[in-house]
Point group: C2
Chain length 313, copies 2
């Protein structure tokens, strides 16, 4: 049972399409097009967006213009523009263009951390500590991401107790909030529920977010146990864009359109209202323009539903 | 929270792909191919399948060979082969080829019933009563379907109390079970939960099933409140096939692959075990053969995962 605590009990959606949704694309999205995508999304009422990452441009070439995106995107008051930073150098680069929030990343699976990040979890904590120290006293919020919270592509199921320990440590290091990344989309309501129960035993719900991928079609269902437990921060991606560059065709993030549709039904949609039909229009247009696979069923359905009007636009 | 009452607490999946999944296709599926599809699915361990409907062949030409399918498909012991019958004449046609169960249909929305069935709900009850009377004393189980249990495409939201009254009446007429059809896939966890609470106030969970469509990407999430409330009968369709012939491109039924993946995680998958990887293989092969859009993310993901082996098959 999902219980709202009142009219102000709303979910904050972090739109990660401009970062997680784009990072693995082989087609280059021009910088001004990225900026326009962000501005278009802000105009729908979304007020929390991850728009850049300051990673090695040789590894993730699509994100090499993060500085330009963040320095040029028109900032709307009350909107948070976030960036992912892998290390102190990335933080220093990001700092020059003042994101409102930064995302730092570790993993619950040691094997995943080592194979994908070429580092240990312990080393990732040292990097995070350096970043937090450098950010201290500044205006930026820090969100700590934990990858592979239920399943690791290499070592299988992940112990929920490990996730809890890591979440607690991220907060004790100075992260303002923790986001639980179900990186490979293999989790189910069962494994997600067990993981959440372990984490919620040590971290309050209002400091937790969910970042789920939809590889096995479970992402929206997996959000339900989070909402039932009072979690009110959810990452999602326009048109369900995203996916791992090392698993071609892998499904992306849970689609913003599908999540907003669900939340609207539950009375938990962000307030003031988000223009879901407009998000669907942006998603369809963007996918069409760059030949991307549109993965939001709500987006598809809404575009069919509104077509008679949108033809007149 | 989904609570299993023990090792025998399992979900019965009704595979509706061979009927609901195919009925709206414009490409003709040859009768022997339909039969092979059913047999292939039975070989995966699925033991409850809707394989035909005895409707007007002018309206649903794809289903005109229902008699041949049911008379020719090899019957496996312990497997139920079901057929939809719209009226007494359809029942009499079906009776000649002995389905194990029949599905009768009414709707919760009067406007839907009138526009799509050209009849009133009251008239549909009269037809159902004739069918139940004719079937009395025979071996066939009767499942009563209610369409549009949360939303009507013409008149909007549906009153949960109406659904409850209709469910109760179907049982009192002699139906053995009632299946709640969320026909247009617009419902959310909120509207589905309210509808289920109303119905469960008058009908026990063990006589209820769920039949959800995925138009807005909500179908799997919408199943969660049903499982939480103890419902253990779910309709699903191979590769998410299905969709209304009057809404081109509309998403189909919730995909069997996605549902089985979820249930396996929850320890509620049908027992003895269903071969999920084999279902995914059948779904991909069938869609490829007839150029159909494959709509199961779990199916896609499983086929990628097993490809190195299946190449050797």
């Amino acid at each position: 049972m999902i219980v709202s605590t009142g009219a102000t009990d709303r979910v904050t959606i972090t739109e990660v399409g401009p970062r997680d949704g784009l990072q693995a694309l082989s087609v280059w999205i021009p910088t001004d097009r990225k900026i326009r995508l962000v501005s278009d999304l802000v105009a729908t009422g979304l007020h929390d967006l991850e728009v850049a990452s300051f990673v090695n441009p040789a590894r993730v070439p699509q994100m090499r213009d993060g500085r330009d995106v963040l320095s040029s995107v028109p900032r709307s008051p009350g909107v948070r523009y976030a960036a992912l930073v892998p290390n102190l150098r990335g933080f220093q680069d990001a700092q020059l263009v003042s994101p409102d929030r930064i995302a730092v990343v570790t993993a619950a699976s040691e094997v995943f951390q080592q194979r994908n990040m070429n580092s240990t979890i312990e080393a990732s904590f040292q990097r995070i500590e350096q970043i937090v120290d450098a950010a201290r006293g500044g205006p930026m919020r820090i969100r700590g991401y934990i990858s592979t919270v239920t399943d690791c592509p290499y070592s299988g199921p992940v112990d929920p107790a490990r996730v809890a320990v890591i979440a607690e440590r991220l907060l004790s290091l100075g992260c303002h909030e923790v986001c639980l990344g179900e990186t490979i989309g293999k989790g189910t309501v069962a494994t997600v529920s067990r993981m959440l129960d372990a984490v919620l035993a040590v971290v309050p719900a209002d400091r937790l977010g969910l970042h789920f991928h939809d590889t096995y079609g479970q992402a929206l269902a997996n959000i339900i146990p989070g909402l039932e437990r009072g979690i009110r921060m959810i990452d999602s991606s326009l048109a369900g864009l995203g996916g791992c560059p090392f698993a071609p065709g892998a499904a992306g993030n849970v689609a913003t359109e599908d999540v907003v549709y669900l939340l609207r039904g539950l009375g938990l949609a962000p307030s003031p209202a988000v223009d879901l039909e407009r998000i669907a229009f942006i998603g369809e247009s963007f996918c069409h323009e760059f030949g991307l696979t549109h993965q939001s069923k709500a987006g598809h359905a809404l575009m069919r539903a509104v077509r008679p009007n949108s033809l007149g636009e």
